[in-house]
Symmetry: C2
Subunit: 371 residues, 2 copies
Amino acid sequence: MSQNLRIPGPTPIPPQVAEALGRPMINHRGPEFAALLGRVTEQLQYFFQTTNRILTFPSSGSGGWEATVVNLFNPGDAVLAAPIGVFGDRFAKVGETFGLNVTRVETEWGQANDPQAVVEALSRLPEAKGVFLTQNETSTGVMNDIQALATAIRGVRPDILICVDAVSSLSCVDLQMDAWDLDIVLTGSQKGWMVPPGLAMIGVSERAWKAHEQSRMPRFYWDFTRVARTADKGQTPYTPPVNLFFGLDVALAMMREEGREAIFARHQRCAELTRERAVAMGLELYANPAVASNTVTAIKTPEDIGAKAITKALREREGVVIAGGQERLDGRIIRVGHLGYVHEPEMTACMDALERQLQALGYQSPASVRG
Amino acid sequence: MSQNLRIPGPTPIPPQVAEALGRPMINHRGPEFAALLGRVTEQLQYFFQTTNRILTFPSSGSGGWEATVVNLFNPGDAVLAAPIGVFGDRFAKVGETFGLNVTRVETEWGQANDPQAVVEALSRLPEAKGVFLTQNETSTGVMNDIQALATAIRGVRPDILICVDAVSSLSCVDLQMDAWDLDIVLTGSQKGWMVPPGLAMIGVSERAWKAHEQSRMPRFYWDFTRVARTADKGQTPYTPPVNLFFGLDVALAMMREEGREAIFARHQRCAELTRERAVAMGLELYANPAVASNTVTAIKTPEDIGAKAITKALREREGVVIAGGQERLDGRIIRVGHLGYVHEPEMTACMDALERQLQALGYQSPASVRG
């Protein structure tokens, strides 16, 4: 039985991309790879909406956190982190691991950052050199308004380094690196990009490059300068994940043909379909609906039916794979991914299966109980 | 024209592996991935010849250097590095980058490490906590005798941390992690493993784990403890390169069926064929023939014909891709890879093409001149 993989990444791979992944290897120091790297970088700039440099690393998306911390900062630097869930919290922890002085703006899980609260926290932290934000918090299904946050932050701190984790949102929803004046935007291949995991991509602003020049944090693998210097020769400092580049090249061409706005609209339609179906079943969304994510939907599990029973039934009886909750949300929510290679029919099939399996597990929706 | 890719990595991919690379994605937190990780790890242990833990990282092979340095050592720790070329030198530089006190044993390029010289250097460095060795130096085509080196080192320093870069040799030539009492053995997917680049694999001895417990170097992405803890649950701390695991699983099954000794013998035959053909053309090997590598052959270019002209002619006229020299060897040598998915016919075709293109470039072998 072929699976309907509906976790928030890795996401399904289109057949054209799957074919490209198995292409014969090439010399990563030769002209073919130089052309490939150039083409991919230019297409990425279209989706990052930037003329900035975009650096690639053979790593998972979370490598982007470490790269940001060790390239832009020095031990002891103050940063404000605004986590709204597990992944934002980890970004903050990476900062702490490398000696940054991290202050957190606390936000109730299920909610987005309040720009005013971030600005107030910054006013109490005049020494802050950077802010860590998450565009889409995969653990809670909440999407921040990065434009509003960046505008508010720039209003009080025009030169602060705004570092945005856009791992599970970039290319799926609008993010304008240049127009919104963001300094670091990081993402990973296995989310909206329709490619297997293993490639991190990081946009770096001129302000970030200046900070990089002042940073004395020890670094080798993540060093922006080494990556940029070799990129100028159409290469990478160490062997790149060649077959992921093959796949990304094909995926980006497909995405470019579909167009940015059409992709955003498709993600919005799939998200709305998912949320509407959940609510129609009498389920409660975990995220505040006003800030619900267009790439992942978190749904509270019915009181008597734990998340594990639901994910197991869907996997074993329906071939539909969804995710449970993480850390304090373990067992309390299920999460449905709708990003990357996704269209309405897969989401309808997923929610049909969820409805069937909930019924099989004895779930009665409040509506049907009332009825 | 399909290429005969004869660089020392990435190496060609067998068709079965190519097919596996495009398989549908799976949940990296689900039972399929747990089974896959377990299977791959056990097969890797067979090739590392160890019962030690083997950790995997989404990274190029060179990430293994950084992982070794930040997990086992503290800033200020003394280590002895024994580079015999570009890659050994980079391993030493990574140590220096993170504050280790690195002393180098100097060895003429083209030669292997002399165990006696290493032991003498250690006697002058009683505070040394570790030794950095390279099994196969890809830049010079030299293979060290790691068994002899480890035996000599253990004779004087039974508890020193022996850290071996086996990126371009492991699985192609004999390396017995346990019997030779090695503490770190690191490799990368794109070499002998017949898989695209993007996955680093690191064997960690009990002695290395004890050193890890004493190390206070800041680390997040490379942290052995995080990787080991999640491995115990059949997972990885962050999204693993799922499709490289698919490929590695298939490649390891093929390799297991062929058997370790048969693979070593095949590499030896391909290497001998390559060296014999080069010598028969009147070319000079860069490496001392007594320590010539079984995975990559470095050949001095004829006086009047630079490496670039040769690699270009081979690529454009023959579809054969070989490598030039690096750093101080740039332009002075060509390098032919014979590792991973390689058999005699490809090497014969490669050397036939080299002979044709050298003649086309006006090369006259000393033998034919004499004749």
